[in-house]
Amino acid sequence: MKKIILILIIALFLVGCGSGYGQEAVSYNFKQGMGELKTTFLSNAPPDKLYPGSNFKMILQVENQQAYDALNGQITLVGLDGTYFKVQPNFRDFQELKGRSLLIPGGDKLYFEFDGNAYELFQNSIQYNNPYFVEIHYDSSLDFTDTVCINPNLYDTYDSGCKKKERSSYSGQGAPLAVTNMEQIVFPSGTGANVEFRLELANRGRGKVGYINLGSGKLGGKLITCEFKGKYLVDKRRVELKEKQQQTKVVCKTFLNDQRSYETPLSVDFTYDYGISEQHQLTMIR
């Protein structure tokens, strides 16, 4: 009995000393990996099988699994044939759907209701399948931040400071659009050196990225010049990604005054619009 009590006390002590969920949440970085809006219809809304002449409800749950807010959202049901089904309204919108954060670790959720009527089957058909699409379009943002080692002294290869990384890869920043790679290039310029950060942006989600707007780029809290490079530029700070070209490049550069190597944060932010299309099906049976 004494042994059991002792074990329980030790267990309680160990558990008490361990890191709890709250602490984990505090230290958790939501801006990593890939996250996007997730849509699901609630069970039996709509039912798997509908009968002719029946009414039904469609309840769509939209969950923001991004680390950023989704803004100006539009939900549309596309491809429903009015001869067989009437769904009203066939589009809905939302102003804001909060992303994952310390306050909402799971991301915000919204529910949208659509009222439907099933009409009649064609002749004596056994069934009718109507594949349709739930399309969601929204605006969102992306923040890229990393601590980089800057070594402006091109001749001192044995600098005792940090070690410069020429190329870094990233799994994502908690959004479908992600900075996937970054190259750092330092080259001499006058009495000092220039540093260039070449960022590769790509769509890692299931949907499509439309326009991307470049916000600001900062190195150690100081603004640096950033611009898009490559195809489909609207201007230097705006690009429109095409269906088959869901990636682009951004180049940020600045002049370095320091002579010694040092570590400093680099951040670049973007806004973009994004669209997801998911296929579902309504089935009417005899």
Binding site: V78, T83, L121, F122, Q123, N124, I126
Partner: protein
Amino acid sequence: MAKPGIGELAGAFAAKAGSAGSKAVSGASSLGGVASSAGGAVKGAVWGAGAAAGSQVVNAIADPGFILFIAGLVTFFFRGFIDNITLTILLGTIFMFYSSIFIFKARGVVLTTLFWVWYIFYGSTLNPDILLYAMAPALFIGMAVHGLYSKLSKKGSFAGGSSGELIGLIPVLFFFLDLGLIALLQKTFFININPLVQNLILFTPWWAILGIFATKKENFLITLSKFVAIIYILSVLTFGVVPDAFNTAGSVLPGPQQFVDAQKQIEAQLPKAENPSYSNFACFWEVGFVGDVKGCVNNRQKSSALRSICTKKEFKEGTNEFNDCIREEQEKQKNQAYSVSGDIDPNIDKPTKATFTIDEKSISQFYTLGAYSITTDLKIDNPRNQPLTVVVNCTFKSKGSYKDVKGKIRGMDMEKNEIKVNGEYENSFDCEPTVKFEGERYDFEIIATLKDLNSKARLERAFVGNKTIKEIEELKKTQITQKIRDGKSKAPADLARINFDLGHVKEEIVIEDSPYKNILLRSNIQNIGSGKITAIKSYNIDLEGFSTDTDMDSIKPNCKTGPIENQFTAKQLEQRTIALPVCSITHMPPELKDPEEYLKLKWVPKTFVAEFTYDYQLTAKKSITIKE
């Protein structure tokens, strides 16, 4: 260097065959020797070749595979004359067991036998009692016996012997292929008929193919036959393209009658074109290897199909009527409305059908006043419970100089002969002569006219508004083709159907709002059954909100609704495809013209429905001989 001539090659070939022959048969060799000593080397070679060929035939005939090859070929070429389901099944059964026993050395005979018992005797039931308590134990015992036999006779392992039973599935597969598996799959799964499937249905001698590729012996004749078989299959297939298939499946195994019916129905729907293998060979001969063989084959196929259509109409080849018919058919193929085709609706499993069959057992040779009649069975599958009127008339048409004898349906009003039907209907009609027969030989003819049949068809289209080609292609690829699989109208497999097409190009599923593209409505009525359409009482293509260029024309027939008086002549009604007026869309509803503006949608699907009401005549005929 000069190429060897055909004569020289033939000589060398014959000499080689001669030497092979002399090795194979001593008698042949001595004969060759005598001939050669007589001084004729060529003569000797010919003798040798003949003897060799003879010996190879004898040798090949001893091979069970070669026997199946020959028997399969013979039945294939006489298939057109076998119009008897029992004989077809009997031949299939013989070939199935023959191949199971002699070709596969009885390795799968238990499975084949079980299949046969289950399929023929139990009518391919899915009754779990029969499957679990009769078939499964029998299969298990069969496999065990086979395994034990293999083990005890030291011919192999138990597992090898028992699993060898699965070979029994091969003859079963060929049994189905020969009965018409492809045709049935086509009918069941609604695969669009394309040249490849047509060719497979019409021109593949399945048992012969199994036989020749299962031969064990090796000699020149067998190798040549295999080579010819490969060339034959390739030349049949090279005419076709890969089939497009789509969903929907049934699960219960169909009966043999369904297989044969499906095969016949598919064959009946197709104009009988020349065997593509023959076309290929003929074209190689005509234009050589470097000429336009494909074009030549297409032309031969087209012209043979046209000839077949006109021959079916009982025109004699070479006559003016025949030539007129060919010209008419060629014109028809150019006509927009004729070229529209439709498909069977995969969602409608029960179409409106009718069969009208003379009961041959009721036909007597001996005429007795008041006691002579012929029975004909009418069965109407009317799953949509259409209100119909059935009119039945019968006559005995004299084959000689005697007068025709009018018939009377027993129990029916002589004047009207009408029955009202509004559901499933099955009845036998007894036709008796109204007067005594004067002659001996008559054609008994009974006609059932089903009045006011109605059939509908649906057509799906996607309206995209005004978009760029790239945007449309993108929408088509990602969404539209998921919803609309193909561009043909769909109708139940009724006796006749209405086919229609709406769009810029035939069978194109996307309709744009473009000032540079016109939208045409093309339609026709197609006779699917074995009877005749005797009247088209109405047709209506529901295009609510659309205007056409025929709307304002009071003289021309309208493309959406009709008919006007005398729109269809009796000659037109006799055609398998009856063209309806073609028109151009001049206005469409705003929500379809610009779905983005009116519905906030990038595209919108729309199903159109067309329907028509018609009379359909079924005729049953039989030649009879009367004796007092």
